[in-house]
């Protein structure tokens, strides 16, 4: 596989879906699923398509099956709001329950969600530690790391030959990784944004998975 890179002495794989696979610990990291974002808007009168949660969960199931992960860590904002778990459609609830019960499932809480997801199974943490990594939703510039987080939904925007190409990306600093958003209905923040640079506490490289390859873009 050409999608591997080394970080903090570990070999990690960036998946096309935006998940991060750590074979040595059989762990799959995903960030910012924003499940039930559409129904959150629907309650306010914006009737977005109700298919996004199903899409996101299908991609998550695919990632688990493709990797054979035994542990899944969701790095926060797994639901778009606290009421999200209650609004899951029955089929989605069943699919998610199968995973949370069959796997070692960790929910890290974010700024959108709280511990309500615990009702669906799995363990809930505000922050956690796994191997060399600190896991939290939003990067803490004061923590020297190594650290894995989400929150910013980094995306790379390349302007080349008159075209503008925008892709979700992983933002890598000297000791921190910020994962792309995994959810279907999640926009992005350009990886060059000062907010991401500040969070990484150092120079940033954007990693983009394109087909089978991993492309690296120094952002500065």
């Amino acid at each position: 596989m050409d999608d591997a890179f080394d970080f903090a002495g570990q070999t990690l794989h960036l998946m096309a879906s935006g998940g991060l696979w750590w074979p040595a610990a059989a762990t799959l990291f995903v960030a910012d699923l924003h499940l039930e974002k559409a129904s959150h808007f629907a309650a306010k009168g914006w009737l977005l398509p109700p298919h996004a949660s199903g899409e996101t969960l299908a991609a998550l199931i695919d990632a688990v099956e493709a990797t054979g992960a035994t542990r899944v860590v969701c790095l926060g904002d797994s639901f778009h709001d606290e009421g999200g778990p209650d609004r899951l459609l029955p089929e989605a609830r069943r699919a998610l329950g199968l995973m949370t019960r069959g796997l070692d499932w960790w929910w890290i809480t974010g700024n959108h969600d709280d511990d309500a997801a615990a009702a669906l199974g799995g363990q809930v943490h505000a922050e956690a530690r796994l191997g060399p990594f600190v896991l939290r939703h939003e990067a803490d510039p004061a923590d020297p790391g190594p650290e894995l987080s989400g929150h910013f939904h980094p995306k790379l925007v390349v302007r080349h030959r008159g075209r503008q190409i925008s892709r979700r990306c992983l933002a890598m600093g000297p000791a921190k990784l910020i994962l792309p958003a995994f959810g279907t209905f999640t926009g992005g923040l350009e990886v060059a944004d000062p907010a991401i640079r500040a969070a990484l506490a150092g120079p940033c490289t954007a990693l983009v998975r394109d087909g089978g390859r991993l492309l690296r873009f120094p952002v500065g």
Partner: protein
């Protein structure tokens, strides 16, 4: 002319007499139509007292019998126009001492005045379609509108075939329901087909209910084409080559409007003119991306006679009586006879004097087009308007607004909607789908029962689920969707509150700017000093500026004008009067290749620099040729001809490949057009762009405020993500259908492409030329300027990575 059955009240007759004016025939005819209780459509050239004619019945009625409450609504396409008419209407009313209150109501009207207008309406209210729709969504609408006698739609030709026209037509249907006695009056510039417009205006599309009144034609306009020393350039399409000569014409005129075809060209031409402006004459610039305050300032300067020229886009097309314009200059080809006539009419508002227009052709095709437009105007041949069925996203918006005003029975709503002419053919099934979409989003997966926007009560009437939805609707209603934009703010202040807003540039362009870059805007070179949220802070700059790019905005040459251009090419007796450059261009073309016929499709192929070129002279307009380019290169790819690219103009499409096209005919097969286009269009940016618009109009997503996306605070979900999900899970969704309709219309002009393919199939002339032909040169000159078309994003991404890697290599 018969005398009107109600005589003009003495106070009005005296007022005319005091000014030495006579009531004109068409003004009397409008009075008579009103006296007979008929709707009316008045077509008149500028300067014919059109607006006053529209109001005359109202003034007569109110002078005779005072009316409590709203009597007449006046609908204008421009906010500024409503202000202007207020001026022209208030003066006569004041001078006649009539007890008539006239007020405006637009998006700029303060909310306390809006509330007061609902409680105590004036007799005459001047407004826009958008503000009317919002007014009709209010619970007070029924009471306020019940006594309305007349609605006057000004510049009706600016509405009819657009989504704004759909919205207005639906609002007229609503008004007629609330006020059955309502008389509709349409005012229009000279149009090709008044009968069709009468049908558009009438309830139930019944043109027989409308009295069509045509004012006497004004003096014929004098249209010249600028030619210097018998030279016309090979390429270019803005007429910028002639800046010096144009400046000399401006110096000789009192006040000139210099019309250009796009906002970007406005900036360029403005700069060119200043470079030649030896006398430092005051020249202004006016286009749709400038801040409203900036536009009002230029308009006021023009009206006050402080300007000698103004460079303007279509933003100035409509009929404000601004100042004493005596010359209109059209930079580049006019694209249509109706448009040329309307623009020419901006010069000289006195109908008995000829207005003067100077066309500056950009290249030799455009010279022919200018000549063709002049011929068409002289022959009175205007361009017909393409009426089409009403848009369903607009209807979805409208029904929510109506339900917001009062509970509604679906059956009654359906009948009301069908009385709006664009929706006359709407089936009940289609209407029910729109209702279902408006209520629940229209998804196969019934997940949103509890979030329904429209709920049916026990009585069968539809109501809003919560009153909060009415406010949300008002914030997002309207049919004009601007590209996501950022504000251009002049001034060094840390906050935009301290700066002066100059206008907006599209986010796509803004995204390419960095601090220190300079760009042309509002006639100045501006340097970026920084970004803050939705604002780009700028100061005066210098150097080589970028030119902002704006999506769309370019009109294709009309079909009738295209036919006339072909006609000129096939009329050698006309060539003698043409500049030497153009005559030789045509003569040599006839020798080395052939001239396009009256109704064939000429295709030339030739080799040059290891590449094979194919030029198709379709005369079908830029959008259709662009779509043709996509289609033909796709087919060439499948045929293994290794196409490399294409360019399109209004006249021709040129493509090039590594292998030659021996027989072009199969490439133009019309049979599988629909399937291939569906496939291509689905992947193209056109459909995505169209989808964003219908999703906003249809109330699926919020209107984006400037800069919100940039600052990462977007509350909504991007239209692109929704589009992808719908395509996958709900391919038959109402909004995808609406987007498809829009994309195949104005963006890709598929109907015109289809007839071009039929034409090519039946009558193609294929010429293998030894080298590039004279007619092919303008197309080849544009090669290299086009964007990369078909290349996959992946390849570009990989290439970008390689470039960066190379640049960073230190070994």
């Amino acid at each position: 002319m018969e005398l009107p059955s109600i005589p003009l009240p003495a106070v009005i007759a005296d007022w005319f007499a005091a000014r030495g004016w006579q009531v004109r025939d068409h003004q009397l005819a409008i009075l008579e139509a009103a006296a007979h209780g008929r709707h009316a459509l008045l077509t008149a050239p500028t300067g014919a007292g059109k607006t006053l004619a529209g109001f005359l019945p109202t003034l007569a009625e109110l002078a005779t019998a005072p009316h409590d409450g709203l009597h007449t609504l006046y609908i204008s396409p421009l906010k500024a126009l409503a202000v202007d008419v207020q001026r022209n209407l208030l003066t006569p009313i004041a001078e006649m001492r009539l007890p008539i209150a006239v007020e405006t109501r637009t998006g700029d009207t303060p909310s306390d005045r809006k509330a007061r207008q609902k409680a105590r309406p004036p007799q005459i209210l001047l407004t826009t379609p958008e503000s009317l729709a919002i007014l009709l969504s209010a619970p007070e609408a029924a009471g306020m509108m019940a006594g309305v006698k007349r609605v006057i739609v000004d510049e009706i030709h600016a509405f009819g075939t657009t989504k704004r026209g759909d919205q207005l037509s639906l609002c007229l249907a609503r008004l007629q329901r609330l006020a059955p006695q309502l008389q509709r009056v349409g005012l229009s510039a000279t149009i090709a087909d008044p009968e069709s417009w009468a049908g558009w205006l009438a309830p139930d599309a019944d043109a027989s209910q409308v009295e069509i009144v045509a004012a006497r034609a004004g003096a014929d306009p004098e249209i010249d084409i600028l030619v210097i020393d018998d030279r016309i350039p090979w390429g270019g399409h803005n007429g910028r080559w002639a800046a010096r000569a144009v400046m000399r014409r401006i110096e000789a005129a009192r006040l000139a409007i210099v019309f250009v075809n796009t906002r970007a060209v406005a900036e360029l031409v403005f700069r060119d003119l200043w470079a030649e402006n030896d006398q430092s004459l005051p020249i202004g610039i006016h286009h749709g991306s400038l801040a409203p305050e900036a536009r009002r300032k230029v308009e006021a300067a023009m009206a006050a006679g402080r300007l000698r020229a103004i460079v303007a886009t279509a933003s100035l097309d409509l009929g404000l009586d601004w100042g004493d314009v005596d010359l209109v200059i059209q930079m580049g080809a006019p694209k249509g006879a109706s448009r040329l006539l309307q623009r020419t009419g901006r010069a000289n508002h006195r109908m008995d004097e000829a207005s003067h227009c100077l066309i500056v052709p950009g290249n030799r095709f455009e010279y022919l087009e200018a000549l063709a437009a002049r011929d068409a105007v002289a022959a009175g041949e205007l361009d017909p308007d393409g009426f089409r069925p009403g848009a369903l996203d607009v209807l979805a918006q409208h029904v929510v607004g109506i339900v917001a005003s009062a509970p509604a029975y679906p059956d009654a709503l359906y009948e009301e909607v069908r009385s709006a002419s664009p929706y006359a053919g709407l089936t009940r099934a289609a209407f029910d789908r729109v209702l279902d979409y408006a209520a629940t989003g229209g998804y196969a997966l019934k997940a949103y029962e509890r979030y329904q926007r429209l709920v049916a009560g026990n009585d069968g009437q539809l109501r809003l689920r919560t009153p909060a939805l009415a406010r949300q609707w008002r914030m997002n209603s309207g049919t004009i969707v601007e590209a996501v934009a950022m504000n251009v703010v002049f001034g060094s202040g840390k906050s935009s509150r301290h700066g002066r807003k100059l206008g907006q540039v599209e986010e796509y362009f803004a995204g390419q700017l960095r601090a220190g870059d300079s760009f042309m805007f509002a006639g100045q070179v501006l340097e970026v000093t920084g970004f803050e949220g939705a604002d780009i802070h700028v100061r005066l700059g210098r150097g080589t500026p970028k030119v902002p790019v704006y999506a769309g905005g370019r009109m294709p040459m009309t079909t009738r004008l295209a036919a006339r251009v072909r006609g000129l090419m096939n009329a050698p007796d006309r060539w003698a009067a043409m500049p030497d450059d153009v005559r030789e261009w045509l003569e040599i073309q006839a020798r080395v290749s052939r001239l396009p016929g009256l109704d064939d499709v000429l295709v030339e192929t030739f080799a040059r620099d290891d590449r094979w070129y194919m030029i198709v002279y379709g005369f079908a307009g830029h959008p259709a040729h662009q779509t043709l380019g996509m289609l033909v290169t796709q087919r060439m790819e499948r045929a293994g001809l290794k196409p490399l690219g294409f360019v399109a103009s209004d006249y021709a499409m040129a493509c090039w490949s590594l292998d030659p096209v021996d027989d072009p005919r199969p490439l133009f097969d019309p049979d599988v057009l629909e399937d291939e286009l569906a496939e291509w269009l689905a992947a193209s940016p056109f459909l995505r762009r169209a989808f964003r618009e219908v999703a906003i109009i249809g109330g699926l997503i919020e209107r984006t405020q400037p800069g919100v996306v940039k600052s990462g605070k977007a509350m909504s979900v991007s239209a692109d993500l929704i589009y992808d999900v719908l395509r996958k899970h709900e391919p038959d969704h109402l909004l995808l259908g609406a987007a498809w309709t829009d994309a195949r219309g104005k963006l890709t002009d598929i109907d015109r492409l289809a007839s071009l393919l039929e034409q090519a199939h039946a009558r193609m002339t294929h010429v293998r030329t030894a080298h590039v032909s004279p007619l092919a040169v303008p197309s080849l000159l544009t090669i290299g300027r086009e964007r990369v078309g078909a290349e996959a994003d992946s390849a570009l991404l990989a290439e970008a990575e390689a470039l960066i890697a190379e640049a960073l290599r230190v070994d």
